[in-house]
Amino acid sequence: MTLKRVILKDSEYEIKRARILRTKQMTETEKYFEIQLPGGESLDHEPGQFVEVSLLGIGEAPISISSSPTKRGSFELVVRDVGKFTGQGGRLTGALHKLEAGDEVGIRGPFGKGFPVRILEGNDLLFVAAGLGVVPLRSLINYVIDNRRDFGKVTILLGCRTPQNMLFADEVNEWNKRLDVNLNCTVDKADPEWKGNVGLITSLIPGVTLEPERTFGVVVGPPIMYKFVIKELLKKQIPERQILLSLERHMKCGLGKCGHCQINDVYCCQDGPVFSYDKTKNFPEAV
């Protein structure tokens, strides 16, 4: 008649012991991790999904997957040191920043609905990423580049605070060199060497030439950015259902239960994080 504790075989909270293969300090506050599941098992994710990353004893947090599923055998994450960036909280991300190749992390997932790649096929794509938004968007950009023939015209618009804050700068450079990709960057604050644009990400949109009926706008960035970018895309006549957003919420359990990520009646962790604008415009709490 006492409290019994037994091992639960089918628990959704079970983590996989994953190994860090490689790390790279990308900026002062962002660190890159290449991670492998036990036995090189595939993560089997869709671009735009996320995983829950654990350090037992410290906690767990949702992190976007940055690599394309076309990259096999391992996957990539970029983690912002939240404590350093905002000045509060961020115990887990601070601890993650101390890890190096060979260390272990716990992984659950992948979770959520990513970008609808099958629907995007055959269409023109306009990627809009600001700040950390390039991290999840990169999973789709690289997927599209690896299957380049299946998609129409590809335009990438990137924005960040300063040239030093640019994530994946080498890779962005590679994208820029490709003749099948149009790329344009802007920074809030330039330095003497910067040759690109200065200003907000929204300032790049009016200059893009596109065929709205066959264009999908794919937008990822900080919460404040969405309403301004959406407005510009609508001005370009892109249909509401062809504007895709990846929304940031605190996806604590990833299982549609704990309530933290709820946006009106949807759970961002299960129903999102990717939504089309024709859906989110009916959620007053979305953007």
């Binding site: 409290l3 639960l8 919460p223 933290h260 009106n264």
Partner: protein, 353 residues
Amino acid sequence: MQYVTLKKERFDDFISRLAQDKKVVAPVAQDNNAYAFEPVTSGRQIAKDYIPTILPPKKYFMPQYETLATFNIGNGQQMEPVVEYERMILFGVRTCDLAGIQCLNMVFSERPKDHNYLVRKSKIIIIGYECNDYCDEYASCRLVHNHTPNGGYDLFFTDLGDKFIVHINTQAGDEIIEKTKLFEEANEKDLKALEALREKKRKIFANEVPVVHENIPQVFEKSYNSNIWEDLGKKCLSCGNCTNVCPTCYCFDVIDEPNLDLKTGKRYRRWDSCQSETFAKVAGGESFREERAARQRHRYYRKFKYPVDKFARLFCTGCGRCSRTCMAKINLKETVTALVAEQGLTDKKAGKE
């Protein structure tokens, strides 16, 4: 339909016999006209006439603190998911609380399933208990049609004066009847008495909010931008009492607790509240329900709108706990009445036969 009866003088024996081989929990009187589900070994410990307990029986299905896994990081990220459960019999569950358990069942059975909840649920036997009259003025069980039983129990007791009439709903319930050997077959007179009681209840339980039951979702469809939420926001202290005592609030946080050796420890979940300012905050510092008004509205929509769309069911059980416990006197009946009036859907005759 199978009914048996239990003479009241045998009630004490009944509980004692149950308690011989299983833990029995039932409402026990506390100070200040408050009641709580607590372990009992005799019928005499159980409160005769009780208003809804401070915490609903959800505390047994989804404990305030629950270990999800134990870990040992001595050699990497090693964890073992666990479930904690206790075999028990819940006695004296009112119809509002039966409805609350049914709501939680739906939530945690939905995929991805919550096996911790489902294992625990399978170890609990539920004995319901009918309210012959209102508990107090906070209840709104008639509004949500929970003043009479809608299943969700193994056995259901109704007080007929000198005896209880008991509905046997499941095999597990029948086994209790067989094992305790204290019950008699219900006769025609007993069944008539039950029918008469239910008939009488139809007059006692009047619609607590003047609205047609079927119109409730419509009221909430139109009330999203109502100023009433601002009024609630001005009163609300964000203490989270309302969500803690709600039988259908199930939001939680997941926390790691290392032991003093800093190697072993546990990952547990504990109740959380959408009423706290940090609940919908993300790492970058943005909070998606910064205003108290928005958080109160969210609470009401999680009872009267969102679950109706998802599970075709209201998640307000009418128990009245949120109003009873609110330090700022935010009252659910008054709020819904005001929303109904604002939408011009007041119907004073609604719910009256």
